[in-house]
Symmetry: C2
DNA sequence: CGTGTACTATTGAGTACGCAACCAACTCTA
DNA sequence: TAGAGTTGGTTGCGTACTCAATAGTACACG
């Protein structure tokens, strides 16, 4: 007589999925306003600068940056246009393959990242460490890292 | 001489945050295409129907639905417009407060949800159970649930 | 060499969202 | 009962993204 859906217990996988969605939306909202206001950067602007700063010579093929940030190539073109206009990233050609263009972090970009980092990372820590223990942070990072593509560009900087 | 940022170890909180972002983007991308193609629903369309189906009498104040889905009121207006046009949700007035409008799941909406659920939930399970153990699912759901707003509408269906 | 296939990057069109501004209705105070 | 403040909901506008189509380049293989 009852609808199966409304009465049945929630699948663990579905619960995890909806919480992942909500958690991402919630934290993104909380963190983006400050970053935007203080430095005029979106979350993805910052992430792009951060990824580039970790890459060798501060540059990456646009297609690799796309995979890293989970954006499509067209999204990257438009994201980088803003950063290029702001002088934070510049284009660099690839001698061995004329198709590829590198996204190259400029000195200004590195400075911008340094400037924005301290406050932004402090916000991230404040939010996450307020709700999670250090162990929980590692646990959730470890688990989520198993998802396809999530650890793509983890040049993990961990000491030997 | 080196930039602190590029050389320092990654903060656990930052790592967890970026992985949360990537995980959300990755899974959303993987799950949305099928749902869109098979039933013409976006992820949030589906989530809205699902949340309403769990609510008492299949209806919720729009503002509560907004909080539940982590959308702003304006986002809800537009999301529901599509569902109303499709006949899956209808408006219902509130006798005791003329400001509020309920979002009321229709029979068609319930049927649509039933129809879309089996395939969509199977996709979710396939994706998550392929990468995670049951314990990991519970762990990650439990941890993420501590974030503000994430468990808002968990009418958790658990037997007493 | 020329031709077909795959890949990089950009563009045009469309979509989903947030923010700010707004109106209407409720509540509280007096 | 009037006025002030709060809450629910919608709209205009801007933005960040996706998808589909396109052009240029690379690299087979005949």
């Amino acid at each position: 007589m009852t609808q199966t859906l409304t009465e049945q217990a929630i699948e663990p996988a579905v619960r995890a999925w909806t919480r992942l969605l909500r958690a991402s939306a919630s934290t993104t909202r909380l963190l983006s306003a400050d970053l935007q206001e203080a430095h005029g950067l979106t979350i993805n602007d910052f992430e792009a600068l951060l990824v580039l700063s970790h890459a060798e010579d501060g540059r990456l093929k646009r297609v690799d940056l796309a995979r890293n940030l989970m954006l499509t190539p067209s999204g990257i073109t438009r994201l980088l246009r803003g950063l290029e206009d702001a002088g934070l990233v510049e284009r660099a050609a690839c001698a061995s393959d004329l198709r590829v263009t590198y996204a190259q972090l400029t000195d200004a970009g590195r400075e911008k990242l340094e400037a924005a980092s301290s406050a932004h990372i402090a916000s991230i820590r404040a939010l996450f460490e307020q709700h999670f223990t250090a162990e929980e942070l590692d646990t959730v990072a470890g688990i989520l890292g198993k998802l396809p593509g999530v650890t793509d560009g983890d040049d993990s900087c961990s000491p030997g």
